[in-house]
């Protein structure tokens, strides 16, 4: 299931919020579960992040008490709600004959049902319209992710991924560990560019970037340090040219052991704009008699 195929998750999350007339941030996944008659319980010493259990019309969501952040706990419950609200998930959940299903939410699974439940959780906690509206009030970059994360009460990682998905700016977010890419998402404006080679999962972080330097010292990640720099776009995307990207690097602390990189490219000029501008310049450089001879477009 490609990322673009998660329209059902997006639509279902919107439907859940609409039915309950929820239109302000932050969204309360525990309240939604309770309203459905689903019991939510913290589970001690649980090796997974969450679990949906069901038998004879009674459903429960259990989440691990070892999850360090409130944002991650909320995402885990929203992920399990995804299994509850999304069509066809019961076959996946009860496929092994069990009455319960355990999940590791947080974009770590390659299973399409898990990924769809992640997409539902993101859309439920960070609804497109509310998120975009909040997004438009802050300048692109890590500060925007931090602000949105506070508004939505979601983890920096989940917020960063949603931000890349919905932003109207030319931005990209990359999660890395030991100088290897763990995930990489880019906004539509960058996806539209055919000349960019996108960092793939498990590929190396390019040498010479601030992220590469940052990751060389594990203390930077553990102590949640930050670094800001600029890099040639070519270094990250192998696209040639002399355009630059701003590069903000943040350590996400010892529990995650991840580094988050936010790249913001210079505003992009599309070919149509350049052509139009070039035509205008040509027109300005023409003699009045030549301009007169230009064909008119009515």
């Amino acid at each position: 299931m490609a990322r673009r195929d998660f329209w059902q998750a997006e639509a279902q999350a919107a439907e859940v919020l609409k039915k309950r007339k929820i239109s302000t941030l932050p969204i309360d996944p525990f309240g939604i579960a309770t309203g459905e008659g689903i019991v939510c319980e913290r589970l001690h010493g649980c090796g997974v992040s969450g679990c949906l259990s069901g038998a004879n019309n009674t459903f429960g969501i259990f989440y691990s008490d070892s999850i360090p952040s409130e944002g991650f706990r909320r995402f885990t419950v929203a992920h399990e709600l995804g299994h509850y609200f999304l069509e066809g998930h019961y076959k996946h959940i009860f496929a092994d004959g069990n009455s319960r299903h355990v999940s590791d939410s947080g974009y770590s699974s390659d299973d399409p049902f898990e990924r769809e439940a992640d997409a539902f959780a993101a859309a439920l906690l960070m609804p497109s319209a509310l998120f975009k509206s909040a997004c438009s009030r802050v300048a692109p970059g890590f500060k925007a992710i931090e602000t949105l994360s506070e508004k939505c009460v979601t983890s920096l990682t989940a917020t960063a991924i949603r931000y890349a998905d919905l932003s109207d700016d030319p931005i990209a977010v990359i999660g890395s560990k030991d100088n290897r890419v763990q995930f990489a998402f880019m906004a539509d404006l960058l996806k539209q560019r055919r000349d960019l080679t996108w960092p793939k999962k498990n590929s190396g972080i390019p040498d010479g970037t601030a992220t590469h330097r940052f990751n060389r010292d594990p203390k930077n990640v553990a102590q949640s340090k930050r670094m800001t720099s600029t890099a040639l776009m070519d270094v990250w995307f192998d696209c040639g040219g002399t355009a630059y990207v701003s590069e903000e690097v943040v350590g996400l602390g010892p529990s995650y052991g991840l580094t988050l990189t936010v790249l913001v490219a210079e505003p992009l000029r599309d070919a149509a704009d350049e052509e139009e501008e070039s035509e205008e310049n040509d027109l300005e450089n023409m003699l009045p008699s030549d301009r007169w001879r230009q064909p008119r477009e009515d």
Partner: protein, 110 residues
């Protein structure tokens, strides 16, 4: 599993003498969704399953083929029991007589 669900949904609906529209109205689903579920073109969510099983007085486990017990006794009786535990003797007496009357009425209909 989808075929079992489709068959059992239709069987339970017919047992309760409901049309697809009746069931749709009772569950808040679109009539086309009920039709798609019964033909196996669409799979329900747990939320749909819960709404359908509540409306049809069967358990979700029965609908998806995890239990062969068609009767609703366990689910309904446990619900009734939960309420009954909080009632006075007088209320319990009233509700028992009401239940007897409703059961007699149903027997006459059948």
């Amino acid at each position: 599993m989808a075929d079992i669900f489709a068959e059992r949904l239709r069987a339970a609906r017919e047992l309760r003498k409901m049309s697809q529209s009746d069931l749709a109205e009772k569950t808040g689903l679109m009539p086309s969704a009920v039709s798609h579920f019964e033909t196996g073109r669409r799979s329900p969510s747990f939320a749909n399953l819960k709404a359908l099983s509540d409306a049809l007085n069967v358990t979700t486990d029965y609908l998806i083929g995890r239990s062969d017990d068609m009767h609703v006794s366990s689910a309904v009786s446990s619900k009734l029991l939960r309420h009954a535990e909080k009632m006075s003797d007088e209320d319990l007496d009233t509700i028992t007589r009401m239940a007897e009357m409703m059961a007699k009425k149903q027997t006459k209909k059948e």
